[in-house]
């Protein structure tokens, strides 16, 4: 299939891009790497009247050290994060390296992944566990939201029609921080069938465990994370119970797979 007709603009700066989006509320769509939006356009699942290409907005491509955190522009590609390890944020490169294939990583962006909110996507899961903040800019200025709050459900986010993700802020980890990230993909480069991300950083008082690749947004398993932080260990029964709580309607095979993903993310940390 080929995309339905649409108009196309490539603004040079963020205010112009926001003005373009606001000119057709609901009918304009921002285009970053196009790795999800491209196929959706061709399948005519997405039918914007106006496509606002963010490729020429340099401000969205910046990576900057903010002292206790890294600032990552929304249009930074997975490949750039893969190739440039950020001090204190080693998980970013590790997660980036595991996304799809290199050709997808060359074009796909952090902001695009967050905005698309595929429940099996890497960044909604990883950035939630890392405690990242998402900055959204619209006609009224910039607001910020936790990554976990930004993703509302499968393919649904807090982003308004006339807003653009400008950047994310990823807090640096302490040297004692432990990071576990496991995803199970049936084949190389595919979206995972099960995924889990775990951060234990006692110095920063962070203990977050999220399970992804569900039919909804990444879900926190707070009690499991707390138990791990306090006791350094957790029972299989507790993991099973937590999974049942966040996704009660899974079949036995699907639940087993997710439990295995959680256990393997934990095993990387302990």
């Amino acid at each position: 299939m080929k995309a339905a007709a649409f108009d196309y603009v490539r603004p040079r700066d963020l205010p112009e891009a926001i003005k373009q989006l606001a000119s057709m509320p609901g009918d304009a769509k921002a285009l970053a790497g196009g790795q999800s939006l491209g196929p959706m356009l061709n399948l005519r699942l997405a039918r914007p009247k106006l496509l606002v290409d963010l490729a020429k907005i340099e401000a969205l491509k910046m990576i900057a050290d903010e002292g206790d955190a890294w600032r990552v522009g929304a249009a930074v590609t997975h490949a750039e994060l893969e190739d440039r390890p950020l001090a204190g944020c080693a998980p970013l490169a590790q997660v980036a390296r595991g996304i799809a294939y290199r050709s997808v990583r060359n074009r796909g962006t952090v902001g695009g992944s967050l905005a698309h909110a595929d429940p099996a996507g890497d960044w909604p899961l990883a950035l939630a566990a890392l405690g990242a903040t998402v900055f959204l800019t619209g006609p009224g200025g910039t607001r910020e939201l936790g990554a976990a709050q930004f993703t509302r459900s499968a393919f649904a986010t807090a982003l308004a029609d006339d807003e653009i993700i400008e950047r994310v802020r990823v807090p640096k980890l302490s040297t004692r921080a432990r990071w576990g990230y496991y995803k199970f993909c049936r084949k190389t480069g595919e979206f995972p069938d099960a995924a889990a991300a775990l951060l234990l950083d006692p110095e920063r008082r962070a203990a977050r465990l999220y399970v992804g690749a569900l039919d909804r947004a990444p879900q926190p398993l707070d009690d499991v994370a707390r138990a791990l932080a306090e006791h350094g260990t957790v029972s299989n029964e507790m993991i099973d119970a937590a999974l049942f709580r966040v996704a009660p309607d899974m079949g036995p095979g699907a639940r087993k797979l997710r439990a295995s993903a959680v256990r393997r993310a934990i095993a990387q940390v302990l």
Binding site: M1, K2, A3, A4, A5, P39, L43, R44, F184, R186, K187, T188, G189, E190, F191, D193, A194, G251, P252, G253, A254, K256, L257, S260, A261, R263, R264
Partner: protein, 785 residues
């Protein structure tokens, strides 16, 4: 490895240069002046009566429905099989739609996107009917019918009984299993493609089509459009994979041809995209088996009772008909085994899915899967090693040629030797030891074996028994030595990955000694090649190859006659040798002889053969029941019982396709087939919901194995020539795709036997595997309670 360029040499493929440089020419690369693109409005539902189709205003001449084209006949594939019911497939839906994706209206515009815009504006009034999605249910149901004029949903029922009662009586052990394969799409890289234009000068319709069988498409287009065959020329340029998907007349071929006849001077093109292929082209592999095996207490198979149900989909294709699959399933289920009691009932059931087509392996991937899982089940029932049980049951070399229980005639080979060699190459003892020891990461090792034999190059009598309206007979080749001493070889088969531009040249080189670089193989154009039914059923190297060999041989006496005259010796004193005629005193080169024939006829003898330096000859093997290739696959896997992941740790193939023409080409064909077999085993599946909606329409949901999912595969050859073919060559194009599902499932079941798990349905997904492990864990607890 054999040196030189003839039979047995791994000559690099002549066709690779253009493909590796991206200079291949496919239909999608073509652009004719005034070309229009075609898109289809396809059925959104699986089963419905069409109450109305409203074209948008002002689209006359660019939107067409069935009523606009009375000139095109419906595709009906007659069969001589007794119980066969005919289906009528209209090029655009007529009266009813019978599967999701069936074309309803054709839209024409300057670009594909604009043609799709037109399709969106058409209004449909459909009265939905209950969809028949499950073959067992459709067989039982007579009230809802795919074809209302039938009295049930059965395309065809086949019955075979050969000594079953007698042989089954003596059994000590009876093993019953239900075994299932899911529905697949064939997924060639290039989908369907057709571009048609009327050629005023030649007074011909020219159809560029992505097809394996240009001559058959020509006949079909002429017949279904009601024009003379002389007025149709079919050109199949580079074709991006066939696999059986492109061996029939496609409704789309007829539709673009109809446009070209109606609007002379314009060119019309249709290119199937991936979404259309997955939705409207999922037409293969779905078999269901209910099997009962009767064996001695040592595991010697005595008799097999089978009920096979094939989910035939909505329509029977032309010319292969839907009878091919049940015919092949019934005849090939006994496989390479020696037993004497066989009863098989095969139902081919109409359902609301795309019509079944012959996919690489044709039924044999299914029957091999079913039979090989049964052999392992028997082995477990008698508590013996599955490889040993296999060895005990395989047809022995001293029984060759062997007429099996389904009346197949196996021509030659040493089946047990292939399996023993595969076991040795895998090193079974090493793996059993490692299996016993256990893996440090907790995974479980399993070993799997699968043996099969593959009917190849089967001819007239075999296809006649399947009742087809098109039966292959003699295959022709036309060869011509050029003025400069090169050779042109024209064949009616088509090469689209098989490497025949090279292997046919090797056969010609073997006879005439002309450098392979100077041999041009011409194929893919009905205007320039002799007739052949085309490339399918692992036939071309035997059939077209045999014709090439015979045509080349026919030139030799003519060359000798001229050469002897040039050498001033008697004909009986001269002989042809490696591109020259050699006499008692000196030799005449091919170039000197061709120079005489073409440019210096005063040098010719007065009685030179007036057939000249070109020959057209036909070939058919001495016995046309097929040359049977065979192989054993032996593999080791590691199963992760936490994630359901299966890793293939070693994959060994020992195969025998008779005399090897080009070992590298044989290995390439095998590897490609194995990749598809791994797809069947672990990844590929078109699921349908209760309404007959396919659940996958992109590769995000229809998984294919990629390069990282294909392990290193070790291939070893045995060469037992066929007694019936030129040089003893056997066909082998399909074999790689036959055995992998059987070998992989047997390996996984070997690993999981201690857990009480046995998997019997393709594909083996992690979720299904984990669920079975959970079931098996809970079951004994329940039984204990």
């Amino acid at each position: 490895m054999k040196q030189g360029q003839g039979v047995g040499a791994s000559v690099l493929r002549k066709e690779d240069a253009r493909h590796l440089h991206g200079r291949g020419q496919f239909v999608s690369d073509m652009m004719l002046p005034g070309q229009r693109e075609v898109a289809f409005l396809r059925s959104p539902v699986a089963h419905a009566r069409i109450l109305g189709i409203r074209k948008p205003a002002g689209t006359e001449g660019s939107v067409f429905v069935r009523a606009d084209m009375p000139e095109i006949k419906a595709i009906v594939a007659p069969s001589t099989l007794p119980s066969f019911k005919l289906s009528e497939q209209h090029p655009l839906a007529h009266g009813k739609v019978r599967f999701v994706g069936e074309p309803i209206a054709m839209c024409v515009a300057r670009t594909r996107a604009e043609a799709e815009d037109l399709a969106e504006r058409i209004e449909l009034d459909l009265e939905e009917l209950p969809a028949l999605v499950n073959a067992h249910a459709a067989r039982a149901d007579k009230s809802i019918r795919v074809h209302e004029e039938w009295d049930d949903n059965l395309f065809l029922t086949l019955n075979l009984d050969n000594g079953f009662d007698e042989a089954s009586k003596r059994a000590d052990v009876v093993v019953k299993r239900r075994i299932d394969l899911s529905r697949q799409a064939m997924v060639p890289m290039e989908g369907k493609a057709a571009l048609a234009q009327w050629d005023e000068r030649a007074n011909q319709l020219v159809l560029y089509a992505s097809t394996q069988t240009p001559h058959i498409v020509r006949i079909g287009v002429a017949r279904f459009l009601g024009i003379a065959e002389e007025q149709v020329r079919v050109i199949s340029p580079d074709v991006g994979g066939g696999f059986g998907y492109k061996c029939i007349v496609q409704p789309e071929d007829l539709l673009v041809s109809w446009l070209a006849l109606k609007y002379r001077g314009r060119a019309f093109r249709y290119l199937e995209d991936r979404r259309e292929h997955l939705v409207a082209g999922a037409n293969a592999r779905q078999h269901h088996y209910d099997l009962t095996a009767y064996a001695s207490k040592e595991g010697r198979l005595l008799a097999l009772d089978a009920v096979v149900t094939i989910d035939g989909g909505a329509y029977s294709n032309w010319p292969f008909t839907i009878g091919l699959e049940p015919g092949q399933a019934t005849g090939n289920l006994p496989g390479p085994y020696d037993f004497r009691g066989y009863r098989c009932k095969t139902y081919c059931v109409a359902t609301n899915k795309p019509g079944f087509m012959p996919y690489r392996g044709v039924a044999r991937t299914g029957v091999c899967f079913a039979m090989e899982l049964m052999i392992d089940a028997i082995a477990r029932a008698v508590d013996r090693d599955p490889a040993e049980v296999r060895l005990q049951n395989l047809v022995r070399p001293d029984q060759m040629p062997y007429d099996n229980v389904a009346r197949k005639h196996y021509d030659s080979g040493d089946y047990p030797h292939a399996l023993r060699m595969a076991m040795q190459k895998l090193d079974v003892a090493k793996w059993r030891e490692r299996q016993k020891r256990g893996e440090p990461d907790g995974r479980i090792i399993g070993l799997g074996f699968a043996s099969y034999c593959e009917q190849s190059a089967h001819g007239t009598s075999v296809f006649a028994a399947w009742g087809l309206p098109m039966i292959p007979g003699y295959d022709q080749a036309a060869v011509r030595i050029t003025a400069g001493g090169g050779l042109e070889v024209r064949v009616g088969v088509h090469s689209h990955g098989q490497g025949m531009e090279t292997t046919l040249a090797q056969l010609a080189h073997e006879v005439l000694g002309i450098d392979v670089a100077r041999i041009q193989v011409v194929h893919g154009d009905t205007g320039t090649t002799p007739f052949s039914t085309g490339t399918y059923a692992s036939r071309s190297i035997v059939m077209a190859g045999g014709a090439v060999v015979n045509a080349c041989r026919a030139l030799i006496p003519r060359l000798v006659k001229i050469g002897a005259h040039l050498l001033k010796c008697a004909e009986h004193e001269a002989r042809y040798e490696k591109g020259a005629v050699v006499g008692p005193a000196g030799s005449a080169s091919l170039a000197e002889i061709t120079e005489a024939w073409y440019l210096r006829p005063e040098r010719l003898p007065k009685d030179a053969d007036r057939a000249g330096l070109e020959a057209s000859l036909a070939f058919k093997p001495k016995v046309d029941t097929g040359a049977f290739s065979y192989a054993s696959h032996a593999i080791a896997v590691a199963v992760d019982t936490d994630t359901g992941h299966i890793e293939i740790l070693d994959y060994v193939i020992v195969e025998d396709c008779g005399t090897l023409v080009n070992p590298m080409v044989v290995e390439g064909q095998t590897l490609g087939g194995v990749a598809q077999g791994i797809g069947t085993a672990l990844y590929e599946e078109m699921q349908y919901d209760a309404n007959g909606q396919p659940n996958a329409s992109t590769f995000a949901d229809y998984l294919l194995p990629g390069p990282t999912e294909i392990p290193a595969i070790r291939i070893f050859h045995i060469q037992t020539p066929s007694p019936y073919t030129e040089f003893g060559i056997k066909g082998m194009g399909e074999g790689g795709a036959i055995a992998p599902p059987a070998a992989i499932f047997n390996a996984v079941n070997d690993a999981l036997h201690p857990l009480g798990v046995e998997m019997r349905e393709t594909p083996l997904t992690p979720e299904k595997l984990l669920e079975a492990i959970e079931q098996a864990r809970i079951q004994p607890e329940r039984e204990a309670a």
